[in-house]
């Protein structure tokens, strides 16, 4: 039984990627990173173990937000910035559904910033995919809340004077229980992150660095270019030391004196592999995850990708329905007659 009195069939069919394609041809610009993302999502879903009709994609407004039209699930294309509000209501109302949110940097972090932080702090089991291209694409090239300081755009011809958000750090600060980052061109990596996101129960942010070939082309070349990639990217893997660089000799060490993370080289200045911070996304305390998320904002540090945090806590919808079920159990004889005739009454005639 579902929460709304409908029967839900439990036998799971065997799906292929095609089962999740709506048949509508995506209309993103040629070369857009969104193609790679939808491809990975459609590949990941057959293995998730949820029936197609029990999956809902909800989006806001922006290039990324056309996503639900191309998925063969239930879907809503809603209002600018507001996707988390619809998703939250649906998830509280029907917790058995798997609800995904597709959003962009302007949608989630500018006009929708309030809904974003509250979706994260409530720990509703909502899986948010944030396509971060650091630009407004659908309105043709204005500065976004993730555009870098000094960025020249149509609305900042002299360079952007404001500091950007770091979405994983923001989500962690707001209390998200699953926070990850991946890149549109790293197909296999994205597949792994999506699988982990699907398996997590709780508020989930997956930031996808996504190239906009028209208005912000090459925004992530500093990470994806083969010549620099090894030194620029830090691949976080659960239980493994945080090492990077061509020969894997560079690493991240926690410096207890400064209480900061620092880059060290194994074999230099007495640094051994034991000094390197071992990645643990399951730490309940989000402090280290927050420090890692902020590395991408600091010059001289690599940009981490992978899962920052993956912690299981009771979700908002679980707690909500515990309360509701508790109220029902406490009053097994509740009825319409009792509802209407409650409180002080008096009779006339």
């Amino acid at each position: 039984m579902s929460t709304n009195g409908q029967n839900v069939n439990t036998a799971l069919p065997t799906y292929t990627k095609k089962d999740f394609e709506s048949g509508v041809d995506p209309r993103w610009c040629p070369g857009c990173g969104d193609y790679s993302i939808i491809n990975q999502v459609q590949r990941a879903l057959p293995a998730v173990g949820v029936k197609r009709e029990n999956i809902v994609f909800i989006s806001g407004i922006g290039c990324s937000s056309r996503f639900p039209y191309y998925m063969n699930n239930y879907g809503m294309h809603t209002l600018h910035g507001r996707a988390p509000s619809f998703a939250s209501g649906l998830k509280v109302s029907r917790p058995e559904l798997q609800v995904w949110i597709v959003t962009g940097d302007g949608d989630a972090l500018a006009i929708g910033g309030n809904h974003f932080i509250h979706a994260m702090r409530r720990n509703l089991d909502l899986k948010m995919l944030l396509f971060n291209n650091r630009i407004y694409g659908l309105t043709k090239g204005q500065v976004s809340p993730t555009s870098e300081l000094g960025k020249k755009t149509k609305t900042t011809p002299h360079g952007s004077p404001d500091y950007p958000f770091n979405p994983p750090a923001l989500a962690l600060g707001a209390g998200a229980t699953f926070v990850a980052r991946t890149i549109d061109v790293e197909g296999a990596h994205m597949g792994g992150v999506l699988k982990a996101a699907a398996e997590h129960k709780g508020s989930t942010l997956v930031e996808v660095f996504q190239n906009c070939p028209v208005f912000n082309d090459g925004a992530y070349e500093f990470l994806t270019d083969k010549a620099v990639k090894a030194d620029a990217l830090l691949r976080m893997e659960q239980g493994k030391p945080l090492v990077f660089g061509k020969d894997g000799k560079k690493g991240i060490r926690f410096n207890p004196q400064s209480a900061e993370l620092e880059v060290v080289t194994i074999g230099e200045n007495g640094v051994t592999e034991k000094d390197i911070l071992v990645h643990d996304a399951k730490r309940e305390d989000p402090t280290i995850a927050f420090m890692l998320a902020n590395l991408s904002m600091k010059p001289g540090f690599p940009t981490p990708i992978g899962v920052f945090r993956d912690v299981r806590m009771p979700t908002c919808e679980e707690l909500t329905w515990q309360i509701i079920d508790g109220a029902k159990a406490k009053k097994p004889d509740a009825s319409l007659e009792k509802l209407l005739a409650g409180g002080d009454t008096w009779t006339i005639g």
Binding site: G89, T320, L339
Partner: protein, 621 residues
């Protein structure tokens, strides 16, 4: 009309109806005193209506003019339409309360004051240069009864061990006890109510009960009063009653929908005066199938409700004017996706923060037209606190039957005001059917077309979890069949017109207006929403004076009842009283060219008074 009988040393005068106003500091417990006295009147079988009037400040500085909080109750043996015009009795707990309310008291009315609060400091805070209780004019105009309730409360609680601050907080029960005596109420139910209210703090239960009894005894033993009053039982229809405020009744209506349908009712909302109680009350109805969600803002309140509606819940959101403004973009989405939703707007004084705790009817045009694009939706307005119950059910019935958002207008006066609610039997409740599409609806037998309509232009409702009917809805204009995005201009025009026609079709569920009084005549009073009681009361009074005046009340504002145009034409004059600057009058002029209503517009944060309306009508007859 009154009769006198003798009872002990006091005579008892029988009166038809009485209006009492309790006023004091916002910390004096006047709302509690008023509600308790109201409950006693209800239990005594009187018809009644109440009007709480409180400041926006939670605890304004003690003794200040702007911190005065009031509660007016009108109860009687006859049918009561409003909380009463001018009070017959004013209970004033301090100088500020006296100063801000005295002008409303009927000449010759009883003025019961807590003389103990008329200290030099309090007089100064209220701006009195001399003590008004010593002013001869006051005793000439009113039946002044000064009682030092502070001292009498202290005496009653001597040796109780309570601090002087705690003792002072009990004095409202002294006033209540005195009023119980004056209106010949049995005290036992009140003593039980005190025990219930303070069950967890027995020392306060004992103290308040003692003070209440002291107040009652004071009436009997002091030589201040020469008579008592009794208001006989009213001729309310036989049945079992409870007292409801409009906001409680709205919540009760939605919970009833959950029971009637066996479906989840989902309320997504955000606290805002004077609508907050709907969210609060509904959060106590969980065992009946209600889910409440307090969102991060007004926008998310309605957003969560639309999300839940997509999932098949019977969804609603509650707010007041500024919140409705924030929700307008979302209402556009609900219109274009054609999902069922009820939006309750408990109107208050605007624009902007305006007068948040005061009532107004100034959101009518916003409700009808205040959206981007062509976005019509049914608009219904409750006419009394108890009618909020029926209106909530009716709004949800229309929303689900016609797959549309519905706007339900109430107001601060209805939301906070109370009246007896006759508890309906189950067969008196409307029949609600909620249907979900579970199989493909297209001619090929395989596809689901979310915008394939029935003969009434209603689209089907298929909800997540239904295999084979996976589909997408959204804010972009959609193909008139598949619901997929369509930029075809002619498709857009077809969709705009179809959505409008669907809402016009709702008229089949809108009852014709009933004319109260002769079917034609000199003047027709036309009211909507919360002014029903005052306008009906005025019509009765004018008819009693032999005037050819009738009354039509509109619960439905969109669509308007089919017969309204014809009814309007049968009267020489149409007169529209409203608590706004003429919004219904403006709407009627547009809808019925040739009809040019006379207007009476009161925008002072209070309901229209019967007496002033009667006077205005007499001027134009």
């Amino acid at each position: 009309m009154s009769t006198q009988v003798s009872a002990g040393k006091h005579t008892v005068e029988q009166v038809e109806a009485v209006t009492i106003r309790f006023v004091g500091d916002s910390g004096d417990g006047m709302q509690l005193t008023g509600t308790e006295f109201t409950r006693a009147s209800a239990l005594a079988g009187n018809d009644l209506a109440t009007f709480p009037d409180y400041p926006a400040e939670i605890r304004a500085p003690a003794g200040s003019l702007y911190g005065v909080s009031g509660y007016q109750v009108n109860f009687g043996a006859r049918e009561i339409h409003t909380p009463g015009d001018a009070p017959d009795v004013l209970v004033a707990m301090n100088p500020a309360a006296l100063k801000t309310n005295l002008a409303d008291l009927k000449p010759g009315g009883m003025l019961l004051v807590n003389a103990g609060a008329f200290t030099a400091a309090n007089l100064e805070k209220a701006g009195y240069k001399t003590n008004p209780l010593e002013d001869a004019a006051l005793t000439q105009t009113y039946k002044l009864v000064p009682v030092d309730m502070n001292k009498l409360t202290e005496t009653a609680l001597a040796g109780s061990g309570l601090s002087s601050k705690e003792v002072a907080r009990c004095k409202n029960y002294f006033a209540l006890g005195l009023m119980y005596w004056l209106y010949s109420r049995p005290i036992e139910p009140q003593l039980e109510a005190i025990q219930r209210k303070f069950a967890k703090k027995p020392e306060f239960a004992a103290a308040n009960a003692a003070v209440f009894k002291a107040g009652h005894a004071y009436g009997e033993t002091s030589e201040v009063f020469y008579q008592r009053y009794q208001v006989p039982k009213s001729k309310l229809a036989a049945g079992t009653y409870r007292s409801v405020t409009g906001n409680f009744a709205t919540a009760l209506g939605f919970a009833t929908v959950a029971r009637l349908t066996g479906r989840q009712v989902f309320l997504g909302s955000y606290p805002i005066t004077p609508a907050t109680e709907i969210l609060q009350e509904m959060s106590y109805f969980k065992e009946h199938g209600v889910v409440t969600y307090q969102a991060e803002d007004e926008i998310a309140g309605i957003g969560s409700a639309i999300g839940a509606a997509f999932g098949g819940a019977l969804a609603c959101t509650s707010t007041s004017g500024p919140g409705l403004a924030l929700k307008t973009e979302m209402m556009g989405l609900a219109v274009i996706t054609e999902l069922p939703l009820v939006i309750v707007n408990v109107q208050r004084g605007g624009p902007s923060t305006g007068m948040p705790t005061k009532t107004e009817q100034a959101d009518l045009l916003m409700a009808l037209f205040g959206r981007h694009g062509e976005a019509p939706m049914p608009v219904l307005a409750a006419q009394s606190p108890a009618d909020c119950f029926w209106s909530a059910i009716e709004a949800m019935k229309i929303a689900t039957k016609w797959m549309t958002p519905v706007l339900l207008l109430t107001d601060g006066y209805l939301g906070n005001g109370s009246e007896p609610f006759k508890i309906p039997s189950l067969d008196e409740l409307p029949k609600l059917q909620v249907k979900y599409q579970t199989v493909p609806n297209y001619a090929d037998g395989a596809q689901y077309m979310p915008y394939l309509r029935d003969d009434k232009l209603v689209r089907p409702w298929a909800v997540p979890g239904t295999p084979g009917l996976e589909h997408r809805v959204g804010g972009l204009e959609k193909d008139s069949l598949s619901g997929m995005v369509s930029y075809d201009g002619m498709n857009h025009e077809r969709m705009v017109k179809t959505r409008a026609q669907k809402i016009r079709n709702v008229v089949e569920d809108v009852p014709d207006v009933e004319t109260f009084g002769p079917a034609s005549g000199d003047l027709l009073l036309v009211s909507w929403g919360g002014t029903f009681g005052a306008v009906r009361g005025a019509a009765e009074e004018l008819q009693a004076r032999g005037k050819a005046v009738s009354h039509v009340h509109l619960r439905w504002l969109n669509p308007l009842p089919k017969n309204l145009g014809e009814v309007l034409k049968r009267f020489k004059k149409v007169f529209v009283p409203e608590v706004n600057d003429g919004q219904l009058a403006f709407y009627l002029r547009g809808k019925f060219p040739g009809v040019d209503p006379l207007q009476f517009n009161r925008i002072n944060g209070k309901p229209i008074k019967i007496g002033e309306l009667v006077g205005k009508v007499l001027e134009v007859l």
